[in-house]
Subunit: 157 residues, 4 copies
């Protein structure tokens, strides 16, 4: 049946999109707040990094393995836009995906949302360059590059 | 039947002990490591604090409510013993319980373990004094004191 | 004498530029490193914030006063570009200045340099909106606005 | 003259005591506060560590050299007592000295004081064990051991 087939195709696309986006959820820690009573802005890069870790575990190529293989993704640029404050004990979810992969570079994007309402709290991106153990820029190893290239999310998240 | 009754009693005790101990599990974040390649020691107090938060949610008296009521638990002493290093991406579990409650004071104790093997990585305690919004030492409010007193874990964890 | 007058004018401009740029210097802390052996990228926003504090003390309008007056500068955007790694025990200098002031907004820019060689390690900016104690967007109070407007650095740093 | 000689001896002792104690002074960073409006307790171990770094630079045997030589001082125990809160922008001084040296162990002690009034804000100690690059416990190298042993502060600080 065409309809069900279309639905099924759509569902597959959805599932695929879902596989490309990792969601990790946790409570805001008390130490993450500052004297304004909200989460300090320097904490979001740490959450986004944990988003990358969660994404790498979900897609089956954990970043810890990448480092054991002798490589690292050095952060070359960091950007965060803050839309609404996060507070102690709040459940937040970080949605993480890859937006672009080049031979020596990868760009991750993130949304931090309130888990219950889905309200967008912050969005951001990080650019990374592949480096070796001597911190020299190098090509992303072929197997990782191939895998990451497949996981690029092209449509809007 | 005596046997089953004994078992049941034992199970109740177990359940009760379990209710007094909160366990919270998470992955070590990359930012928590230092150039020794292990988790920096200043991170454990943050994990222990998240252990207190988890405990307070589990027992149904969230610490966020305590602060909304106009009180806080200021840390008066912190102690951690480090037995084995924790590493990036490792799953760790913090076990948290109350060891002593006084009219103005509470003592929490903690174990940080490797989630999979159960290996003890660190243990510690924190002493807290109850303060009001002007940071003056004050009595723990009666309802909270009563509730916390019931939850003291007396046997060895 | 024209020559000395020109020199003097130039010196005044220099002095003025210097007053608009705050420099704060400190050693990299061990806790600020990660397992790559370099300073973690989430630390730079904290250094940049300390740059703002130093700037506000230098120009005689400390940010602590701003908060005591009932206002705060919430971070609405954060951007950092990383050019070279910083390492434990290295002396780094943060250069901070204001690039733009609007009625409800202020933009700070930063350079993080190696103190001894002057090598640029990172550059960045933060956008801030003025909020009151209830976290509502509000106008920057007139006296602060006037003072900050005078301190905008228009030429390239 | 006996008097001046006694004075001189006393002065030498003082100078010697001063050489054994390092003082490092800095402003409290905004990011170091929490929603109680005071410095979060997990920040003190970081200040104490910076105290150790300052001590090691002052005595001419920088800790960075120790690591380059293939060793590290792993923290085996951490203790802090909190007496009075520290606040954003406050100048604080960390006083650091060695209390005990053994073949594989060293104990540092700390006082954190308000720089202007001298008020004691917190005191603490850390125990460290010497480890090699494979994180195995090992003897402190002879030259470092000899040097550190000379610098033990025996009288009360």
């Amino acid at each position: 049946m065409p309809t069900s087939s279309a639905t099924s195709e759509h569902q597959l696309e959805q599932a695929s999109a879902e596989r490309k986006i990792a969601e990790t959820t946790f409570h805001v820690r008390y130490a993450e707040t500052d004297q304004m009573g909200i989460v300090h802005h320097s904490v979001y890069p740490i959450w986004m990094e944990e988003g990358r870790s969660a994404w790498s575990r979900q897609v089956g190529w954990p970043y810890a393995e990448f480092e054991r293989a002798g490589y690292a993704l050095a952060v070359s640029e960091l950007n965060v836009r803050f839309l609404a404050p996060a507070r102690y004990d709040q459940l937040v979810t970080v949605r993480t995906y890859v937006r672009q992969v080049r031979s020596r570079q990868i760009r991750f994007e993130y949304e931090v949302v309130d888990t219950q309402s889905g309200q967008l709290l912050a969005s951001g991106y990080t650019m990374h360059i592949c480096v070796d153990r001597q911190a020299r820029t190098t090509r992303i190893p072929a197997d990782w590059l191939e895998q990451w290239s497949r996981l690029v999310l092209e449509q809007p998240a």
